[in-house]
């Protein structure tokens, strides 16, 4: 049997299952309207078909996956184009640009808005479109330069605060919490989560972790000798952190799978 024939048989089986599911789900609908039941039956069956088509990627690339992928990408691209038009052009530009246009699109005209300022992004937007005209296409680089330059500049202070200053501030911690001498420390040692020993240990882990992590990300010196040892400790600490993060995130992903399984076995097959 050729692969073409096998594909045809498989498609026929899938179509048959789709039809049976549609009829069954339409028959078990909760609504009084038969149209609503037939529509809901189709939607549930189609959602199941798309879910299984995407899952079929686990086996290998196949026409069902290609169909689901194309549909997903096409709908998404169309949706974002419409969303961009209604949120940016109609939502931001029209209410500031013209009263008659605002009335046409049924959005409130903003009388007190800064009308002149909106023409700067409009001009840059139009310049960006000059890429379509090869002779003056170079003009679009001005817009690109403005976008990258402005956002990089704005992000500088934002990231400086969140990724640098806040972290530096939080890393300056005492290495000996409530220190009353060696004797007192030894006589009161305990593994309680809020105890002095754990507090001191945590602060030492943070201190060593920050130091060695910074050394690892120091690019101006070769990682040899003591510098190399610190760098190795730094990468070990990073890898331990990644391991914990990996497990935590995988748990979140499993919940997504549970959602799909619940849909298939609960909403569709009604065996959950």
């Amino acid at each position: 049997m050729t692969s073409k024939m096998a594909m045809r048989i498989l498609t026929a089986i899938v179509a048959l299952i789709f039809l049976v599911s549609w009829i069954t789900k339409s028959g078990s609908g909760m609504s009084d309207s038969s149209f609503t039941n037939v529509r809901d039956g189709f939607l549930i069956t189609f959602a199941v078909f798309l879910t299984l088509s995407i899952f079929s990627f686990l086996y290998r690339d196949n026409p069902f996956y290609k169909f689901a992928e194309s549909l997903y990408v096409g709908i998404s691209a169309g949706y974002w184009m419409c969303y961009g038009f209604w949120s940016t052009v109609v939502g931001n530009f029209v209410p500031r640009a013209s009263r008659s246009l605002s009335e046409f699109f049924h959005v409130p005209y903003q009388e007190h808005a800064d009308h002149i300022l909106i023409y700067i992004p409009i001009i840059f937007g139009l310049i960006l479109l000059t890429r379509l005209l090869p002779k003056i296409g170079w003009l679009s680089r001005w817009s690109l330069a403005f976008i990258i330059g402005a956002t990089a500049g704005l992000n500088l202070t934002r990231y400086l605060r969140s990724d640098f200053i806040s972290q530096v501030s939080n890393s300056f911690i005492p290495l000996f919490v409530d220190w009353k001498g060696v004797g007192s420390f030894i006589s009161h040692i305990s593994l309680a989560a809020d105890g002095q020993f754990i507090a001191i240990l945590s602060n030492w882990v943070i201190f060593v972790g920050v130091m060695c992590g910074l050394v690892y990300f120091f690019f101006s010196k070769e990682h040899k000798g003591a510098f190399g040892v610190a760098s190795r400790i730094g990468i070990w600490i990073l890898m331990i952190t990644f391991g914990a993060s990996f497990g935590y995130t995988v748990m979140g992903r499993i919940s997504l799978l549970v959602g799909r399984i619940t849909f298939l076995f609960g909403d569709w097959l009604k065996i959950l």
Binding site: V73, S76, H112, T151, A152, F172, E222, F242
Partner: protein, 413 residues
């Protein structure tokens, strides 16, 4: 056996009766609800109003002394309501409620909008008056109106002092190192395994006659990781043009696509092969995360690229892409500044650039004075922090004085 069943049934009956009783009890109205005090709580006193500092001129700071019934006395205060009006003797209908503070709180920042058409508009340079009500159960009492006060804009935001200091230090270091690099000083940058592997990976793709897939992530053109990725993309494009192989660059953002097209085009031109550049090799897919991943995964399995390079801002799609790349048998080089996604790249890719290594990669590859100078300045800033940390901690251990938190007790930290 029958005794066990009897015992089980007895326990079940007891549990059910407990559950029914608990449910019935929860349906009863709480006894406290009947205790509605008829007397309003004593009003707050000494209401002070002032311009909100460090803002754009549309905020007022309101402070008051707590009502005697707040946490003491009749203990009848639930919250404080803050009202604003243009005149002190305005009728109640013209006093606008601007916010609520829970009991025990003695201040409220009335941060208004700058847009005159907005409902929360707060005009600047206009006399305003405030009233604070102590609110009890269904009753309230107000302190005398405070004001007038005017909202004014500030030229300098005190809270941004650390940013200013670090920016100035960073700027001085950057300018110094850029000048050094321009004068030909040999500025050392340690080798990065992931970046050194790029040339080898491009060579492998050429030998196999397969394309190279370059994914810029799902960030916008303003994300730092995407900007760093553009620099590496330029270098990869130049090598690809030199080796006469092909590349695929699917993009999630139209602006990113435009910049990527320019970058690849420039790379081909730098390699002396502008005619080999195909505009279709850099294309837009969609702006949504998972449809984009579905499309890129399909491309990976159909085109079977020899090398996949993932550099930029990544989120949940990191493992989906990297795992598909493993299935396709590609060499994979990844890098992102998203700490939560790095573990997935580490387990599924051959080489991973961790966080800041992605930024360093562009300087390491290009060896341009501007990038080298910036990288060196970053390194020296890190060294300054490292030295300060060790010095302050040593001082604390030696002297026992609280010199560590003191510098950070300022409000701007």
């Amino acid at each position: 056996m029958k005794y066990i069943i009897l015992l089980f049934l007895t326990c079940l009956t007891l549990c059910l009766s407990q559950a029914i009783l608990a449910q019935t009890a929860s349906l009863d109205p709480p006894a406290e609800a009947a205790l509605v005090p008829s007397e309003p709580p004593a009003p707050p006193s000494n209401v002070r109003v002032s311009d909100l500092p460090n803002d754009d001129g549309h905020g007022i700071q309101v402070k008051w002394n707590l009502s005697p019934d707040d946490g003491a006395g009749a203990k009848s205060v639930i919250s404080y309501d803050i009202y604003r009006a243009d005149t002190p003797d305005a009728p109640d209908s013209l006093w606008k409620k601007v916010g609520t503070a829970v009991l025990g709180i003695k201040s409220y920042a009335d941060k208004g909008e700058r847009d005159a058409g907005s409902r929360d508009y707060l005009p600047k340079h206009t006399n305003l008056y405030y009233r604070v009500y102590a609110v009890g159960a269904g009753v309230r009492s107000a302190a005398a109106a405070a004001g007038p006060v005017q909202a004014t804009d500030d030229w300098f935001n005190d809270m941004k002092v650390p940013e200013l200091v670090f920016c100035v230090v960073f700027l001085i270091l950057t300018v110094r190192f850029i000048n050094m690099a321009k004068k030909g000083a040999d500025l050392y940058v340690r080798p990065l395994a992931g970046i050194e592997a790029i040339d080898e990976a491009i060579g492998r793709a050429t030998e196999m006659g397969k394309p190279i897939l370059y994914v810029l992530g799902i960030g916008t053109a303003g994300d730092i990781a995407t900007i760093a990725s553009f620099t590496v993309l330029g270098r990869v494009a130049r090598k690809v043009a030199e080796y006469q192989t092909s590349m695929i660059v699917p993009c999630i953002d139209p602006v990113v696509m435009t910049i990527a097209q320019e970058t690849v085009k420039t790379g081909y031109a730098d390699a002396g092969r502008p005619d080999a550049y195909k505009e279709d090799s850099v294309y837009y897919v969609t702006s949504q995360q998972f449809p984009y991943v579905a499309a890129v995964n399909g491309t990976i399995l159909r085109e079977k690229p020899a090398t996949n390079i993932y550099l930029g801002y990544f989120a949940a799609e990191s493992l989906l892409l990297a795992e598909t790349g493993v299935l396709a048998g590609s060499i994979q080089i990844a890098g992102t500044d998203q700490v939560s996604q790095l573990p997935f790249f580490v387990v599924a890719c051959d080489y991973t650039l961790l966080g800041e290594e992605l930024y360093a990669a562009s300087a390491y590859l290009g060896r341009e004075p501007l990038l080298l100078g910036t990288l060196k300045a970053q390194d020296y800033l890190k060294a300054i922090v490292l030295v300060c940390m060790i010095a302050l901690l040593a001082l604390r251990v030696i002297t026992g004085a609280d010199v560590i938190r003191k510098p950070f007790d300022m409000p701007w930290w």
